[in-house]
């Protein structure tokens, strides 16, 4: 089976974010980069499937040339090769991003049986690129998947909703968007790192489009931090808490 996983390079931020002076981006000079949390599950799922069923796992990202770092890390986990659509470092809007991904996927010789996305990007959270890609490729898509098996060319997936667990099946080729909890992503090994250095990363260029969802700037959300009133230490503080709960009508 040939699998494609789409990734995004995102900063690994601490508790408090800082913006660049022009308020267009997060200040990343103190920060490292990784990929979005759900995407780690996507790569892990891809690696497991290739381990079980053979063939290839390709990684695809759109981002600055530095995103090669993230691709190499995921190649170290067991992906076969990677494609990097190099941007000017600016953030592209979801339509532009989806179109560039679609072009790159269509340009591949491999016709991927399964394309996996992470449920949402850590930074922009647009909730749409995977769906736009599915439409453009005319493929079925299942989102928010928390368990997945491939049986006889069919993706058997569950998603968890408030009311319980929903069961889906869809014939390949298909697109699946996975969530944290699907699996436990592995970390690279040193031999994996050493192999990853030799794996191919194809660099591509794409022309940016005029964004239709146009970022003007970013602002820090007003902190919800309020600073707790400490009612006391240990069980002795319980009566004070009971009074508070009464006051707010909790019982």
């Amino acid at each position: 089976m040939d699998i494609l996983v789409c990734l995004k390079r995102v900063p690994l931020a601490g508790g408090t974010l800082i913006l660049t002076p022009d308020s267009r981006d997060i200040e990343t000079k103190h920060l490292g980069f990784g990929i979005s949390p759900h995407e780690e599950n996507a790569v892990e799922a891809g690696v497991q499937l290739v381990e079980q069923m053979g063939e290839t796992l390709t990684l695809l990202t759109l981002g600055p040339s530095d995103a090669e770092e993230q691709l190499r890390s995921q190649l170290a986990i067991g992906a076969t090769r990677a494609v990097l659509i190099e941007t000017d470092g600016q953030e592209w809007d979801p339509q532009g991003t989806a179109a560039a991904l679609v072009d790159a996927i269509n340009a591949e010789e491999t016709k991927f049986d399964l394309i996996i996305f992470g449920a949402e990007s850590a930074d922009s959270a647009g909730y749409q690129i995977h769906i736009r890609v599915a439409h453009a490729l005319n493929r079925p898509i299942i989102t928010n998947v928390k368990s997945m098996k491939i049986e006889n060319g069919v993706a058997v997936c569950d998603r968890v909703v408030a009311a319980g667990r929903e069961h889906y099946e869809v014939a390949l080729p298909a697109i699946v968007t996975v969530r944290d909890g699907l699996n436990i992503p592995r970390y690279p090994s040193v031999p994996g790192r050493m192999q990853a250095r030799k794996k191919p990363v194809d660099m591509k260029k794409a022309e940016p489009r005029v964004p239709k969802l146009e970022k003007v700037n970013l602002a820090l959300a007003p902190s919800k931090a309020k600073g707790a009133e400490v009612l006391g230490n240990g069980p002795e503080a319980v009566p004070a808490l009971v009074e508070v709960l009464k006051k707010i009508g909790a019982f």
């Binding site: 800082i18 103190h30 490292g32 770092e69 970390y187 690279p188 090994s189 040193v190 050493m194």
Partner: protein, 839 residues
């Protein structure tokens, strides 16, 4: 949380291993009312202590560093936070095997025993998971261990609190440090201002920022040390406790590997230097990990992965062993590799305890606390003294370029005379062009380019033949030339001119000037105008703080001349003695003046040709100075000698330097004058005369009596260290500084080898020698004595062994060479009656 106090005797900023150590040791020495603050949370505020690898190799080529490390280990053991694992430094090259042998000799010199060279098979026995086929051997040090630095810090902080001496406050950020009239006054924080008599900056890589708040400088840079933790390792599955296997340092690839639980930690000093500024370090809130754990950059570690794999293929090459954690940890690096300790020269009562690593933390804290409370530390800290920096050392460009150059030498083989290549030509003497034209090979001191020898003298090597004591072995030929010894011999025949511009000079003037120099100097300073006094400067314990020359130029005017390397520390020493009423002042004229030395039997003839002054022995007595005219240039001439021949030092303003050089040079043509480098001035000339140097021979741990430098009569006036010195004079010294000759230089391979200093002196049955105060006998200085055809070693030896003719062994690079005492005490082995100087 309780409120910050408004006042304290001492505010300690920082709660890493150093800040906690300072709080504890200040409390232990009796200080109360100490307030410790840190902007991060406790027990791990997010500095370098929190991500330290925590292992300690007790050996360093620096005596000071080894002593501090040994004291730290003693404390870690006392607190129960030390686990002894043993450690092996492995060698992949022959050059490294030699270096390991050198490390063992340093270990013996500094009193660290138990180390031995292992064969690859022996290494494999101790560490079964290495591939012994890629190594040539290893240096096993059984006393290597791992500490829990965070726990130690907590214990020390809590002990200080139990003593009722200290309070600690987390999450308090310093916003300013207030200074009044050059004295620290208060620390302004986001939670209030604390007035304080003393402020200690123990904030590691943030230190420069805090110092700058007070207008002081702590010249260090945060730099990345990469490490990666992999596991779980099947081989370590059954390990009990945190640490069971010896720590491995893979020296030739600048890496270490250590087992930690079921994991293997791989650290590196091999990657490209990655430097930051303190402003680049994020706050606790914005940091993804801790503020000093930057994101790991794998691309910088790719080669290290392969090197680790080569050494430990069964673990590192195991696909099931995964990266658990990796970071670019931030450490503090200084331009000369030594810590930055002591009161800042800019601000009174503001102390720096910076660029201190885990292995040095508690020992450094104890020593600096002693310095603060008692005025001096037991361990000599001169190489770490913050006052050592010249102005250009404090510049960003200097710090960054030197750290960039030296970063990969963290595990490197660094030759004792190795020169930096970066940020050179910072200070040029007025003779630089003339010297360069003569083929000067320049070494650096305090930013000055100094000729070490002159290629123009190379024909003299043939002239003197074997008397230049040619060296066949690469190691001691490196950074050396037989031309040095040829220059020495020629100077003894005719004369040499020596560029001494790197001296530091400062004038002390005013009604109290005499009182100031009197207080600093061991020797009598109330001398006639025009007298030149060479004098030791002692610390309160009676150990050496410096040795230097003071000229009395007028009733209320003294000029201090001292070596460039130690000049700024000397300046602070004298500045600290100035009375508060302004009745004496100090003026640094280092950058305004230059010195040329002229020595040799023909020195008088040469200078007499260019001056009308009577330069005869009778008219211009030894140890006097006066202004003379040399071809129209006003020159302060001082008749002293550090090389053992007749001659003068000539001091002139920088602008007059070229004219002075040209005048002497021209006059010297008929008298065989040659240019002579610092190789002669600092080593061969000095050693033949058994002149002691500050640092190697003269240091805090030895006394004037042991150095053989006590005067028959002591001055009546008070001076620093007098009480201790009187005591030293009254008791029998336990060791004496001796001059030894090497009796046979031939190694096992038949090559003649020449010691370079710091080697242990052993008994004939190869046992280390320790005096009654527990001090090892080692070579303080070594070098050629070409006039005698001998290689000289200086060493303090226990008094009972210090008898001329007594025989010993000196260990050099793993082999032993016979040597014997030529002279006990300060008497010269060359021209002992000083006829040449007094000619």
């Amino acid at each position: 949380m309780s409120k910050l106090p408004a006042k304290a005797k001492c505010v300690v900023i920082g709660a890493g291993i150093v800040g906690n150590g300072m709080v504890y040791h200040l409390a232990k020495l009796g200080w109360k009312d100490i307030v410790q603050i840190d902007k991060g949370p406790l027990p791990n505020p997010g500095g370098s202590t929190g991500h330290a690898s925590n292992f300690i190799f007790p050996v360093d080529h620096s005596k000071e560093m080894t002593a501090i490390t040994a004291e730290s280990m003693r404390q870690y053991k006392e607190f129960g936070t030390f686990t002894e694992t043993g450690g092996i430094e492995v060698a992949r090259t022959e050059e490294r095997m030699q270096e390991l042998a050198r490390r063992i000799t340093s270990a013996k010199s500094w009193g660290i025993d138990g180390g031995r060279i292992l064969t690859p098979a022996e290494v494999k026995q101790l560490v079964p998971y290495i591939d012994e086929s890629i190594i040539l051997g290893g240096y096993y040090q059984p006393t290597v261990g791992v500490v829990d630095s965070l726990r130690t810090g907590t214990i020390m902080r809590e002990k200080a609190q139990e003593m009722g001496a200290a309070q600690s406050f987390a999450n308090v950020e310093v916003q300013d440090i207030k200074v009044e009239n050059g004295v620290v006054k208060a620390v302004v924080t986001d939670q209030g201002t604390i007035e304080a008599e003393y402020v200690v900056i123990a904030t590691g890589c943030w230190s420069p920022k805090l110092a700058a708040m007070a207008g002081a400088h702590i010249p260090l840079t945060p730099a990345v040390h990469q490490m990666k933790d992999i596991g779980p390792v099947p081989f370590f599955k059954d390990t009990k406790g945190d640490i069971e296997w010896p720590i491995i340092r893979d020296m030739d690839v600048f890496m270490y590997e250590r087992q930690h639980g079921t994991g293997l930690e791989i650290g590196s000093y091999a990657h490209r230097p990655i430097l930051y500024t303190p402003d680049d370090i994020p706050s606790n809130a914005t940091a993804a990990l801790s503020p000093t754990e930057f994101a790991f950059t794998q691309a910088d570690f790719d080669i290290q992965d392969e090197h680790a794999y080569e050494l430990m293929p069964s673990i590192v090459g195991d696909e099931s062993v995964r990266e658990k954690y990796a970071c670019n940890g931030i450490l503090s690096y200084t331009p000369d590799g030594m810590p930055i300790l002591g009161e800042t020269p800019e601000v009174k009562n503001l102390w720096s305890v910076a660029a201190v690593w885990i292995k040095e933390g508690p020992g450094t804290a104890k020593s600096v606390a002693e310095w603060m409370v008692l005025g001096d530390s037991h361990i000599d800290l001169h190489a770490s003294n913050i006052a050592r920096f010249h102005e250009h050392h404090k510049e960003e460009k200097h710090i960054k370029s030197r750290v960039t150059e030296s970063f990969n030498k963290t595990y490197g083989i660094v030759h004792p005379l190795e020169q930096y290549e970066s940020n050179r030509k910072v200070r040029l003497s007025p003779y630089y062009e003339r010297e360069a034209a003569l083929g000067a090979v320049f070494y650096e001191t305090a930013g000055w380019e100094r000729p070490f020898w002159y290629e123009s003298n190379k024909d003299l090597v043939a002239k003197f033949g074997d008397k230049v004591m040619p060296r066949a072995a690469e190691w001691e030929s490196r950074w050396w030339s037989p031309i040095i010894n040829a220059e020495h011999l020629q100077m003894r025949e005719t004369a040499g001119i020596v560029d001494l511009t790197a001296f530091a000079y400062f004038d002390i003037t005013g009604p109290s000037a005499l009182a100031v120099v009197q207080k600093a100097a061991l020797r009598q300073m109330d001398v006639a105008i025009g007298r030149v006094v060479y004098t030791p400067v002692l610390g309160p314990n009676g150990g050496f703080k410096s040795d230097l020359t003071i000229m009395r130029l007028d009733t209320d005017h003294f000029r201090v001349v001292t070596g460039g390397a130690h000049g700024m520390a000397d300046k602070k020493w004298f500045a600290d003695l100035l009375p508060a009423d302004g009745s004496a002042k100090i003026k640094d004229i280092t950058s305004d003046y230059t010195t040329l030395g002229l020595w040799g039997p023909n020195a008088r003839k040469i200078v007499q040709e260019v001056t009308s002054e009577d330069m005869s022995h009778e008219s211009f007595k030894f140890s006097t100075c006066r202004e003379i005219d040399i071809k129209g240039v006003k020159v302060l001439a001082s008749r002293i000698s550090y090389v053992g021949d007749l001659g003068w030092e000539f001091y002139v303003p920088m602008a007059d330097g070229p004219a002075l050089w040209d005048a002497l040079w021209e006059a010297g043509k008929n008298h065989g004058l040659i240019p002579v480098g610092i190789g002669v001035y600092g080593t061969t000339g000095r050693l033949e005369k058994c002149y002691r140097a500050y640092g190697p021979e003269l240091e805090t741990e030895y006394t004037v009596v042991e150095a053989g430098m006590q005067t028959p009569k002591l001055k009546e006036q008070d001076f620093i260290g007098k009480e201790a010195h009187l005591k030293h004079r009254a008791e029998k010294p336990v060791a004496m500084l001796c001059t030894l000759f090497v009796d046979d230089h031939t190694s096992s391979t038949g090559v003649k080898r020449y010691m370079m200093g710091n080697e242990p002196i052993l008994t004939l049955d190869k046992k280390p020698i320790t005096d009654a105060h527990g001090r090892r006998s080692y070579v303080t200085s070594a070098g050629s004595a070409p006039s005698l055809g001998k290689h000289i070693l200086m060493s303090y030896l226990p008094t009972e062994l210090a008898v001329a003719g007594n025989k010993f062994l000196v260990e050099y690079l793993g082999e032993h060479y016979p040597c014997s005492i030529a002279e006990v005490g300060a008497t010269s082995v060359f021209d002992p009656s000083n006829e040449r100087i007094l000619a």
